[in-house]
């Protein structure tokens, strides 16, 4: 693999472009982040990607901050900052202008219709995120069982997700997984 002469610039345009296609938020863009970071650019290994996902879920703040972790692994603090701004900035500007446009022409129906059309796509993307991350993190049967159990508990109860992450961490530390 050729070393990238300007990795910060690569981060900026990669995530800037990705953000415009991130329908359904950051978790829906995870397959694309995985494809670019692991398969295309070789910024990190499969396992490192799973680690970074785990860290981003453990830390406070919006899920999108996984891009800061990817950026950090490529180009340190600058990389993290640039990746975050690239992932959030362009769409924030877009959101600002669209919201002003829509408050002016109120009673418009089409945002609801477009949303209806996009929701199935974003669920499909999030499902793909789940599959790709399960393939990277669930390498043993017990690991897959922990994932399934956590999914069922989170689906059926109103338990704070933090406890499930903590329980997973404890099981991991105990060497069960």
């Amino acid at each position: 693999m050729n070393p990238d002469p300007n990795p910060v610039w690569t981060l900026a345009w990669t995530f800037g472009l990705m953000s415009l296609f991130a329908v359904g938020g950051a978790n829906a863009a995870i397959p694309e982040m995985h494809r670019i970071a692991v398969d295309v650019r070789h910024w990190m290994t499969d396992t490192q990607f799973a680690d970074v996902f785990a860290i981003s879920q453990m830390s406070p703040g919006p899920n999108v901050l996984i891009v800061a972790l990817i950026g950090y692994s490529v180009a340190g603090v600058t990389g993290g900052l640039v990746a975050t701004l690239a992932m959030c900035g362009p769409t924030a500007v877009l959101a600002y202008y669209v919201s002003r446009l829509l408050t002016r022409s109120s009673q418009s129906r089409w945002p609801a219709m477009i949303q209806m059309a996009l929701v199935p796509l974003s669920i499909g993307l999030m499902g793909a995120s789940g599959l790709i991350l399960a393939q990277t993190s669930d390498r043993t049967w017990i690991a897959a069982l922990v994932t399934a159990l956590s999914a069922v508990l989170a689906f059926a109860t109103r338990l704070n997700p933090f406890w499930l992450l903590l329980a997973g961490g404890c099981l991991g530390f105990a060497g069960v997984i």
Partner: protein, 201 residues
């Protein structure tokens, strides 16, 4: 710039928000608090802070704003903060909310990244992260099923088929996101508009 007291939705909700619009510092600190409280998703805390605690929006206004931010690309909660901040204080308000939401957790996550880069090879930490990521994947999968339930209840067959098509092309075939969405968005829009027309006639 929008007037700070822009007209709310036509029907007054039972609990109207207080008319005093938040200042820039209030926006910054409110979103910083919302963001730092939110483990595994900030939306719940955003609703709690904006609607319940500060009463800056009614529940209906919040839902409308969130719906707008959900159909736009990009991280939804970041979009929400920008739209919310700009509604009260224009562009400076948008920047204050954006900085409050992303600044403090960015510092936290960068510290974690530095720790990971330094100690990531330690065996105990590797095991802990492996365990956390198993549980985190479970959380993500449960969110997918939660979002799917309304489609299943509605028997929205077209929607479920679009969902499956995207899932297969991204998850199994690993096709690039841009290509898949450039094909899927027009098809999904056509189906949605077509169905509406059939219902209307």
């Amino acid at each position: 710039m929008m007037p700070p007291d822009s007209p709310p939705a036509a029907i007054a909700a039972p609990d109207t928000p207080t008319p005093a619009p938040p200042g820039l510092v209030a926006l910054l600190t409110a979103f910083a608090k919302i963001s730092l409280a939110g483990f595994g998703g900030v939306l719940v805390w955003a609703r709690r802070g904006i609607v319940d605690q500060h009463r800056w929006m009614t529940p209906d206004e919040f839902n409308e704003t969130y719906a707008l931010c959900h159909f736009l690309p990009g991280p939804n909660v970041v979009n929400l903060a920008v739209v919310f901040g700009s509604r009260f204080r224009g562009i400076p308000g948008a920047i204050a909310a954006f900085a409050g939401l992303l600044g403090p957790p960015l510092i936290a996550v960068t510290s974690l990244a530095a720790l990971y880069a330094r100690f990531g090879e330690i065996d105990a930490l590797r095991r802990i992260l492996a365990g956390v990521s198993c549980a985190a994947v479970g959380l993500l999968i449960s969110a997918v099923f939660r979002m799917m339930m309304p489609l299943i209840r509605r028997r929205d067959l077209a929607g479920l088929m679009m969902l499956a098509a995207v899932f297969i092309s991204i998850g199994l075939l690993r096709l690039p996101l841009e290509a898949v969405l450039l094909a899927a968005i027009p098809v999904s829009l056509a189906i949605t508009f077509g169905m509406r027309r059939r219902v209307a006639s």
